[in-house]
Symmetry: C2
Subunit: 291 residues, 2 copies
């Protein structure tokens, strides 16, 4: 199997910074090269010891890489793919850590062509924080990482990439990008829209009385708007459909509440409670959640 000795991380925000920190710690002997287009971010990354070296231009960053990981905003991927294609060695593996995967595959196919082997990655980790100063070397520990492949994917790239993410602590699933985007619309992107909608529907004066329940339900609404705008733009149809399904469930509950149909309300709440309780048990069993 191909050894990944030169790893290049493009984009040094929370995710890119954490990948570089974790790779440096978990893959001793590997060169972990970091690049950000912002000089101030590069300076911070150097101070924080993110990666084994931080370089000032993209060509240098990717020129010797066995693996290039794009951790920049989704809608910059196509441009980066085009630029990377000019500089990478043949047989370099290229991936990204975007939260949607259909569009990255399309861009990679268009821009990378045969110069590099592209596989999508989505490490399911992060927080509502933003910036390299929040990077952590344990961000991927016991997280899932979904790899995405299509019929045109060069399969020889999958195993080395699996090994890489496993070394960072991830458990890996491989799936089609279409399936990925449908699933993550439902479990991540729609919940984000709901949290934002709930906050926007709330009156400032009323919010003074909000307790822990409200704060927890809306935590994800504190995520960076630019990052999330990209996600919502890049997976719009699945998300719009998911919002419809959720509105349908809300209207079902609303109808039962308006007509004070005790039995129906209780059935709907009990169904949600049982489903979530089964999920929590599953997550604890898989050690994705502490008991």
């Amino acid at each position: 199997m191909q050894q990944l000795r030169n790893i290049s991380v493009i984009g040094l925000g929370l995710l890119g910074g954490s990948i570089a920190l974790a790779a440096r710690q978990r893959l001793p002997g590997a060169r972990v090269i970091g690049y950000s287009h912002r000089a101030s971010t590069r300076a911070k990354a150097r101070d924080l010891g993110v990666g084994t070296e931080i370089v000032d231009d993209l060509a240098t960053a990717v020129g010797a890489a066995d693996l290039v990981i794009l951790a920049t905003p989704i809608f910059t991927f196509e441009g980066y793919f085009a630029e990377i294609a000019e500089h990478v060695c043949p047989r370099c593996i290229v991936t990204d850590v975007g939260s949607t995967k259909v569009m990255p595959h399309q861009w990679a196919e268009r821009q990378l062509d045969v110069r590099a082997r592209y596989v999508g990655s989505h490490p399911v980790a992060g927080s509502e924080q933003k910036g390299v100063e929040f990077a952590r070397d344990d961000l991927f520990y016991q997280a899932r990482c979904v790899l995405t492949t299509t019929q045109t994917t060069d399969r020889t790239a999958v195993t080395p990439l699996k090994t890489f993410w496993s070394a960072l602590g991830c458990s890996i699933q491989v799936m089609d990008p279409l399936e990925h985007d449908r699933i993550f619309a439902n479990v991540s992107h729609v919940p984000h829209v709901l949290a934002a909608g709930l906050v926007n529907a709330s009156d400032d004066g009323d919010l003074k009385f909000a307790g822990k329940g409200f704060l927890d339900s809306t935590r994800i609404a504190s995520g960076p708007p630019t990052v999330w705008t990209d996600v919502l733009m890049a997976n719009s149809e699945n998300i719009a459909d998911g919002i419809d399904r959720t509105i349908g469930e809300l209207q079902k509950l609303q109808k039962a509440i308006r007509s004070k149909a005790r039995q129906e309300i209780e059935q709907l709440l009990a169904a949600a409670q049982e489903k979530r309780s089964a999920l929590v048990k599953y997550k604890i069993r898989r050690k994705e959640l502490l008991s």
Copy 2:
């Protein structure tokens, strides 16, 4: 000011148990009498040292009380008020800890009449757990407690009740029950419906990929369905209106997402982020939330 030396807690679940534990600790010298209609709960409460004594019948529980606190399900209040009215001393203060306040006031007015002075209480504390075994003496520490009064409320009861909740660690606000129910529909009851709706709209297979964001957003959906059914029944109009407002915000976001209106999506997400960030700062300043 009236001294509350004999405190009676009716209903020994998470809330009642925590009140009895906290009162015993924070009000040395006071008798804290606990009662539950279930023998098994009374036995557990005795084992856990909840209250200074646990008694087997309601008449004994409330006969000598200066303050009776109802911590039973909302729709049992009217029956308890009627029964309590027969046994309490004149000038006893009666309150409840229900999460809705309009209906408890109506029931108290109907059943307690002049035999006791009723003021509503809503200590904004709790968790998705249920039962006396989860009772904690610090549940009310730095929590808010809303007291509700109407034009017919005997005002002499308000100050002793404020003193009681303050001793347990609460900060107190007094308001009208109508205002209370409108506010808490928005910051607590509607979020609960949303969490349940989101879980119910989710596919079991997809949920395996849910991360911390989904779990936090839906934590409140693990609350006890019977307790929450009561809340939704007792505040149905405000909640139905709040669901409408939230659906309106979701549709606004959905429309922007469907039409890929980047600027509008980002504005809506940024508005939510800023509003929540202001709320978090406010809560930290008031020490209701750790920084």
